[in-house]
Symmetry: C2
Subunit: 172 residues, 2 copies
């Protein structure tokens, strides 16, 4: 059995997602412990919820899930947990969708870029490649200093391209 956890993003491919999510949660715990940050019950559950699929969830979807688990049922509960996780680099905000998704490469420094399938709503974190450099180069010609960047592409994932028109596929 091949190692299906080599990097090239597997959001679009079938894979051992239980392990995928478990690994991510473990990395999150390590990373937070190192930084002296607290992974409280709400925060942990929020991250778990996002890790259940390679999709982006709206704050209110997350909130619904938290409520079902007995946590506070007001928007700030979800927003606070999500913002904390984003600050810690464990979650990314997908502005195009007004939604959040778990980071698949926590720890590594990365200007994240996302590929969003409009059919199955899977979200993959694209391999950085020369992307960051290209954006930096564009900024340089205008003498602009980049602090944060948002790169998001909408289109069709391989599975949905194959089934052209059909609905959900894969882990999304």
């Amino acid at each position: 059995m091949p190692d299906d956890h080599s990097d090239p993003d597997l959001a679009f491919a079938p894979h051992d997602h239980a392990r995928c999510a478990g690994d991510a949660m473990a990395r999150a715990e390590t990373s937070l412990a190192l930084g002296g940050q607290r992974l409280t019950a709400v925060r942990r559950r929020t991250l778990q919820i996002l890790l259940e699929s390679h999709r982006a969830l709206g704050a209110y979807e997350v909130l619904d899930r938290l409520v079902a688990d007995g946590y506070g049922n007001q928007p700030p509960v979800a927003y606070r947990a999500l913002e904390f996780l984003e600050e810690q680099g464990l979650v990314h905000r997908i502005r195009r969708l007004n939604a959040f998704t778990a980071c698949m490469h926590p720890g590594e420094v990365h200007a994240p870029a996302f590929l969003i399938c409009r059919a199955c709503h899977a979200v993959a974190e694209a391999p950085a490649g020369t992307l960051g450099a290209a954006l930096q180069a564009a900024a340089d010609t205008l003498h602009f200093t980049i602090e944060r960047s948002t790169i998001e592409a909408v289109g069709l994932c391989p599975a949905c391209k194959a089934t052209a028109g059909t609905a959900t596929r894969g882990i999304a």
Copy 2:
């Protein structure tokens, strides 16, 4: 007097903005005429409003301006005009700001990328350069087909870097 209308984006530099905006409006008229689309009063005024500065305006800011000119004062009036202009490639949506800005390169095919100054709120459309290609390359490795992309960077424009901390500068 040098031609200050050579491309490298001038949003961050002083320039003859009346001509800058006038040119853009003229290109818009041509482009719509070719496509058989109608530049109605609301649409024209909406584009003018966005062309007054190199900033992004929220739909409700645009609406306020339209109301002041005697147009309908409900959100759909502004959203419809903005969406029409965006479909025609004359306006871009800046998701990071929940706002809209006039396109500075209408006609040309371009996967737009924006540089947003967090100090003076100027928004420049970055020269495409290798950016589109880099994103496409990243997508290719996952066999993802890009249909639309959102590229936005937040940081400091040259003027605001110089004044480090001071407020508004330039045309923004």
